[in-house]
């Protein structure tokens, strides 16, 4: 029996990645402007106004929706860049704006009541009352759920709300509740909430010390690799630290999320959309992951066995897990 397929929402860090995602079968892509107004404010990424316009045409011609993320928290005394981003997204005809800040949600609701509003994961709406609030106050149609919930909790939320939910399906994974983490700014002065960056490359240093490769973020050592050990990017919460004399991946191993083995369960839980993370990724990565999920989502919607492509080469630390949606992960 066929069920409504999960919507596949894919990252577009660049115009090339946008085209790759659309061509590979994305139902929607999400992107941001080239400044601090979005949570992937990395050098060389994102869109200007003209590129967005071209991207919208390319996607819309092929039946793909485009959401614009304006999902950092506007700086006090300087709302201009964030409001301009919302204005531009609305003017150019984006299909949805992804927001986190309540003041900016308020602005968007007043000025563009017809514009579809999604709640960014950065707003960390993790329970029914929070979702109800964003729905009633700002007409939010979809909530990107923070990755703090079990599958059972997600199902319970969906049973209680008309708001669509979107969950993280593949890619980098926050260990902490999103939008409520100041670890990066504690170490680098640059934060996801204010600057749209976490553990920014500008503060990363790799140093060979004898037979060890040391990775540092700011002044602090995040990991040490012996010769031959694959060295990962020093995202703070994926580092190795010492507690009570013992070194471990205290917060999380360098692993990626991959829910491709649980699509039927996510459908049964009432989830509307899957989010592929990775606006910082190249178009080849995007094409491969999106194509794999396109096949899997279509198979799941037809009630067929879901193909399990080997995406290990694309995952952080060459490992992936769907375990985060179970109680045992906690």
């Amino acid at each position: 029996m066929s069920q409504r397929p999960l919507e596949l929402v894919c990252p577009a860090g660049t115009p090339a990645a946008l085209r790759a995602a659309v061509d590979a079968g994305a139902d929607a892509v999400y992107l941001g402007f080239r400044d601090e107004t979005n949570a992937r404010n990395f050098p060389g990424l994102n869109f200007d106004r003209t590129e967005l316009q071209e991207g919208l045409t390319y996607a819309h011609d092929r039946g793909c929706k485009v959401s614009v993320a304006v999902n950092t928290f506007p700086a006090a005394g300087n709302p201009g860049p964030w409001r301009s981003a919302v204005d531009a997204a609305a003017d150019l005809g984006a299909d949805a704006i992804i927001l986190a800040d309540i003041g900016l949600l308020d602005y968007t609701t007043r000025h563009y009541p017809e514009m579809r509003r999604h709640l960014s994961v950065q707003a960390s709406a993790s329970n029914i009352e929070a979702i109800r609030f964003y729905h009633e106050a700002f007409g939010v149609k979809r909530v990107v759920l923070p990755r703090v919930l079990t599958l059972a909790e997600i199902a319970a939320l969906n049973a209680q709300t008309p708001v669509e939910t979107q969950v993280f399906a593949f890619g980098g994974m926050c260990v902490m509740a999103e939008g409520r983490c100041a670890l990066s700014s504690y170490v680098t002065g640059r934060s996801p909430n204010m600057d749209g960056v976490c553990s920014p490359a500008s503060h990363v240093h790799f140093q060979q010390e004898g037979n060890k490769l040391v990775s540092r973020l700011g002044e602090f050592t995040v990991n040490v690799f012996l010769d031959g050990e694959p060295a990962g990017y020093p995202t703070l919460c994926k580092g190795r630290f010492i507690t009570e004399g013992r070194a471990s991946y205290l917060f999380e191993e360098p692993t990626s999320l991959n829910v491709i083995d649980m699509l039927p369960q996510l459908m049964a839980a009432g989830v509307t959309a899957l989010k592929i993370e990775g606006r910082q990724r190249g178009r080849a990565y995007v094409a491969q992951v999106v194509a794999a999920f396109r096949h899997a989502v279509d198979a799941a919607s037809r009630g067929e066995a879901v193909p399990q492509p080997d995406l290990a080469a694309l995952t952080e630390g060459l490992r992936d897990t769907s375990g985060v949606y179970s109680k045992t992960w906690q």
Partner: protein
């Protein structure tokens, strides 16, 4: 309103973030009631609902003792609400109309809308539009996020128009919260079967880098700074901006003495340099930091410019 001029600066004691034995917590608050020069005391579990039941039996006598000592009591609520248990706990507190409540999640704020309440530092208020939204819903007191720099604090203070703003000025900073219990994980346990190992570390479990540099502290599902924030040198500037509330986070040290130091500086009875030296004697678990305030990495300790009687501490503001 400039609180410095009207003498309205209030020292507050944030909720105990750690899992202390209930009797220890009770005795701690008795002493606070009797000796600490703080105007507001926040009570309640913010980090993990698995801990909440332990202190509940002692709550009435603690509230009574604090109120009889002239302290205003505010009930703090959970920062991360995911389970039914979490939600039930927050609903129960926010349903009470006889007490003041601090919301630490948007859910709590929504349930408190329409009557006076406080918004805690775990709700993201980064700008004047968001502040105005919450004030419009009845927030009369707002505790600002830890990572805000002075220039944001100044803008918010100007925009607050009578709503009391509070800044975290002492203690390890809560930096992150997770669904996962890292305290349990460090002992190869899980949150569901955690054996309450967080109780072993009254000021958080030390986290070091692989080269043994003190780095963070883990408190159950919460990750905190290793350093203790200390804005004793910035109190004058904060008051000039119009910030009227100064939050001390409880630690297992002599918090009455800590409060007296801050009170003395606020009242002009002690210079901040002497106060820093006294606080360094009291804080035996970590160095100080004030980087967030100065727009730097939070772990940084920015030392005051060379003392000069002519330069007021408002110089931080003037440099923007």
């Amino acid at each position: 309103m400039n609180h410095a001029e009207t003498g309205m600066s209030r020292l507050t004691l944030g909720p105990v973030l750690f899992n202390w034995p209930a009797e220890t917590t009770r005795d701690f608050y008795f002493r606070i009631a009797d000796e600490a020069p703080v105007g507001i005391v926040y009570l309640g579990e913010v980090v993990c609902s698995k801990r909440s039941a332990f202190f509940e039996p002692y709550l009435p006598e603690v509230v009574d003792r604090l109120e009889r000592a002239g302290k205003e009591v505010v009930y703090s609520t959970l920062a991360l609400i995911t389970s039914e248990r979490d939600m039930a706990e927050v609903r129960a507190v926010t349903a009470r109309t006889d007490v003041r409540v601090e919301a630490n999640d948007v859910a709590g704020a929504a349930m408190l809308a329409g009557r006076p309440h406080a918004i805690g530092p775990f709700v993201n208020i980064y700008n004047e539009s968001t502040l105005a939204y919450f004030v419009g819903k009845g927030a009369t007191r707002v505790v600002l996020p830890a990572e805000l720099p002075a220039r944001s604090l100044a803008v918010l203070a100007k925009a607050a128009e009578g709503t009391d703003l509070e800044v975290q000025v002492f203690g390890r900073l809560p930096l992150a919260i997770s669904a996962r219990c890292h305290h349990a994980r460090s002992r190869n346990l899980r949150k569901v079967s955690c054996q309450y190992v967080c109780a072993d570390d009254p000021d958080g479990m030390d986290v070091e880098t692989l080269d043994y540099e003190p780095f963070l502290a883990v408190n159950g599902t919460q990750t905190m700074s290793h350093a203790s924030v200390n804005l004793v040198h910035e109190l004058d500037a904060l008051q000039e901006m119009g910030i009227g509330g100064f939050r001390l986070w409880p630690h297992s040290i002599d918090m009455c003495a800590v409060a007296r130091v801050f009170r003395d500086v606020l009242d002009g009875r002690q210079e901040s340099q002497a106060a820093e030296a006294r606080l360094a004697e009291l804080v035996d678990f970590a160095p100080f930091s004030n980087g967030f305030y100065h727009g730097r990495e939070g772990a940084a300790w920015v030392t005051a410019p060379a003392p000069s009687p002519d330069v007021s501490s408002g110089s931080v503001l003037e440099s923007f």
